[in-house]
Amino acid sequence: MNPTATAVRAGVRRGVIELRNTFTNAQDLWNYFFPTAVLLVAMFFMRGSTVPGTDFSLGARALPSTIGMGLIFGGLLGLSQQLIVDREDGTLLRAKATPKGMLGYLIGKIVLISAVSLIGVVLQLTPGLFFLDGIRLGDAGAWLTLAWVVPLGLVATLPLGAVIGSLIENPRNMGLVVLPIFGLIALSGIFYPINGLPGWLQGVAQVFPVYWLGLGMRSALLPADLAAVELGGSWRHLETLGVLGAWAVLGLVLAPVVLRRMARRESGSRVAARRERAMQRVG
């Protein structure tokens, strides 16, 4: 029996069990559904406004954009938060104490976060279809685009999430990551086109994956003529592939190094020390 293959299989099962555990936990369900509900309500009220220069619903434009944003949240914040929590409660040390346990742990997390993200896509898309017009799901091209944008988005963000989760030890410092991401979302044309922003701000937005995931999702789900109101007047698939691909490569290079360093430093006394600190925060 090959230990690596065994750990990979155990990791996949781990992801499935964690998925079941998380979807039977009221707190987790609330965390998944509440933001989705808020976004849907926002889109409901935006549905009457139009994208500038067109008669297309602004709410319908926001639907694919926010789905792209959701992938960023899931991959980057979801994974990093889980890593931080799992380090604090000893889950990671447990994985380290198990033969090939870290491999199983990581695969489990990737399966879990990917599944949660995909379920999130469906949860948001399905109700949106009922009150937003112009989303093209019947089109084979739409599915084809989704089939590469969504996985690429996850590959671009999951390793970065692992890096962030490894570097941040104190859950309180998550704000350091969350606030810039919210800033980026405001810049990245998720809710409103950024054609009106100064050129240098548009430039900043286009360095990061949020903009490109939003664009990629719009290119999949919106009618082709909406491309005209994007920057450069096109869906820019090649550029999307290039920028998201570059982030994926960066993350995949960094993540193993940072993860290994983080795991090497884990020990019982570190977990105990973190617990002490957590107790002080609560108490």
């Binding site: 065994t6 889950t91 104490a97 346990g101 019982g268």
Partner: protein, 324 residues
């Protein structure tokens, strides 16, 4: 036993080296400029139960974490199951079980799911002698968690949670098990069951066990050999009886005579009793002789070590004392 290093002690019935599960020589650890371990020597044979005692801050945790492979040592030679734990691979990892104090993990998991899942990782490391992992139902039964198998981990009581930690520690049928204060939070019944489990692991499965505890009564019940770590070195190494005898303390004798209660401390308990009974005969009632206990030995040894450190010299004397 540290005596193994003394030339005169070679003839003692020490096992061949392959039976040495733990073999630590002159282990040193320095954090920054602070020396935490000043040359720890310890060995353990297969199936032996060792209790590592010592005051807080003596270096117990550091020592164990080095042996577990979770921390790199500064100097010294360490062999755990014949392997340097700083370079232990996954095959080595599979032969070791770790039960720490501070697990709070996997709260959303069901007990049975968790044990089955973690057990899966050990299957490729099964040998002819040791089938791995421990079958889940059998393991649940062994640690007394069968009635709680379907519960989520965060619903367990403190004692049940601890038993789960032990179950996870042994799911891979380790040849060497580290137990860090295993019975904190146990009620007396759970404690006794746990002690039976430890005996079973050591006697039937030949698991070598290194446990830390502050409960001297527990150490006396469980351990074949007790190591006292103080001031960064092993200051005593021997069976509970040997340690108690080493401290030449007075025995305490209590009795009642004509309804009156007496207590007398003496080095020569036998002589005193002979005289007492000759003089008062049957009027001596409720007679009790208490030799120096492990606790007395522990307190004395640690105190000597600490005051010796202050004086700056006696420490060596005790070190040699422990090597007999």
């Amino acid at each position: 036993m540290t005596a193994v290093e003394l030339p005169g002690a070679v003839a003692s019935p020490h096992p061949p080296d392959e039976d040495l599960v733990l073999d630590v020589r002159d282990l040193r650890m320095r954090y920054g400029t602070v020396d935490v371990l000043h040359g720890v020597d310890l060995t353990a044979r297969r199936g032996e139960v060792l209790a590592l005692l010592g005051p807080n801050g003596a270096g117990k945790t550091t020592t164990i974490e080095i042996l577990e492979g979770f921390r790199l040592r500064s100097a010294g030679s360490v062999r755990v199951l014949g392997v340097d734990p700083g370079r232990g691979d996954e095959r080595w990892r599979a032969r070791i079980g770790v039960v720490l104090q501070s697990w709070r993990d996997h709260g959303k998991w069901r007990v049975r799911d968790l044990l089955a899942h973690l057990g899966d990782f050990y299957a490729p490391y099964a040998t002819d002698r040791i089938p791995r992992p421990w079958p889940t139902d059998d393991l649940l039964d062994t640690v007394g968690l069968t009635p709680h198998a379907g519960k989520r981990v965060h619903q367990l009581s403190g004692g049940q949670r601890r038993r789960l930690d032990v179950a996870v520690g042994i799911v891979g049928r380790p040849e060497l098990l580290f137990l860090d204060e295993p019975t904190v939070g146990f009620d007396p019944a759970a404690r006794r069951e746990f002690h039976e489990l430890v005996h079973r692991l050591a006697d039937l499965d030949e698991t070598t066990i290194l446990l830390t505890t502050h409960d001297l009564d527990e150490a006396e019940k469980l351990a074949d050999r007790i190591l006292i770590l103080a001031g960064g070195r092993i200051i005593a190494d021997g069976s509970p009886d040997e340690l108690s005898r080493r401290v030449a303390g007075d025995a305490e004798i209590r009795w009642t005579r004509d309804g009156e209660r007496f207590v007398h401390a003496t080095a020569d308990a036998t002589g005193f009793l002979r005289d007492l009974l000759r003089e008062h005969g049957d009027r001596v009632q409720e007679l009790e002789v208490r030799r120096a206990s492990l606790e007395d030995a522990y307190i004395t040894l640690v105190h000597e070590e600490e005051s010796g450190l202050r004086a700056g010299r006696a420490a060596r004397v005790w070190q040699q004392g422990s090597e007999r």
